[in-house]
Subunit: 227 residues, 2 copies
Amino acid sequence: MEKILIAKKVLSENDRIAARLREALGATLAVNLISSPGSGKTSLLEKTLEMLPHGTRAAVLTGDLQTDNDARRLARYGYPVRQITTAGACHLDARMIENHWFSEPLDILFIENVGNLVCPTSYDLGEDAKIVVFSVTEGEDKPLKYPGIFRKAELMILNKLDLLPYVPFDRALAIENARRIHPGIEVIETSCNTGAGLGQWLAWLAGRAQNKRSAIQGEVEHALVAP
Amino acid sequence: MEKILIAKKVLSENDRIAARLREALGATLAVNLISSPGSGKTSLLEKTLEMLPHGTRAAVLTGDLQTDNDARRLARYGYPVRQITTAGACHLDARMIENHWFSEPLDILFIENVGNLVCPTSYDLGEDAKIVVFSVTEGEDKPLKYPGIFRKAELMILNKLDLLPYVPFDRALAIENARRIHPGIEVIETSCNTGAGLGQWLAWLAGRAQNKRSAIQGEVEHALVAP
């Protein structure tokens, strides 16, 4: 019981900081990428940074238990990147994000969570959308076994499509399983090796960023005309 | 601070139960398989059960957040199998093992942990050895990024060897990374599709089971002759 109360306290403290981050983001789109270790989040981000339209103000926060390998990989694309080393913790939390905050104005903030399909699910980082990355080598039953993240994610990226010929993986069943857990989940199928689906992913990001800017603009205009 | 104290209390309670389980195991070899989701633990166990020498008394406890898919897959091989559904928890703990205990005498107990490279690392389940399963699709940097489990595991199974031609994965570097974290870690490379390495894995199990029986027998004989 005591354990549950403490867990609730930790989460509500996290939620308070996340609300502050959401406010600080303003019109910046923030996406929180969650997956198993090795499903290809960093490669996807590398391709994404490479393909972002010229002039996009983007930045990356990347979380790992140890090493700054990912930050070094991602820093080559000319965008600001910060590594968050959790020193053993199995997820990012809102305070870690706040402690690594970018002060410059951004269009998109990418948050690459620790590789873990379970624990990051419960932590709001102030993001606009959680995105689950799931690779075809992991088996089509994963949405049923790890329903929490598939329920919370707006978008599932089904990655490593180029490995389909070599693994027993039923794509249609994987998507059906994800939609049994979360009927409205969007799905984009990608391969960072062939480039399949990356255009669709970039368009998704651009659409979400535009929607957020419009919504914030609407709020500002509403505030200006409100009595 | 309060959070840390509670975490310590939970772990020491876990350790007490794990000590009880270790006692109850007697001469039974218990192995705790830990990996990312989708690295092939269940397929490896299927092949293992298929190949166990006739007359081996084996059983499986398999953990998942949701579903009894794995237990159903594993039950086809004629050995007792119990599913532990953690209902959201990111690891097995000793109490879950105790609550699903097999009363029959066993030579080997396989414990398939929840797919997670972080949280299961801290929980002693009374096992003789933690084994980390790591597939070639996950990238050779995983031992550096998730050092905890590579430090604690006696054996690393490098799985899905048949996918090597299709992924950018440096086997030698992966093993070197694992040994930077844990110089004494044993390594067996396997493919459940081609059967590579499975004989070596079965021999490892047989050797460890034999060693444990001899050690326990030695203790019994020592106790009998002791004044």
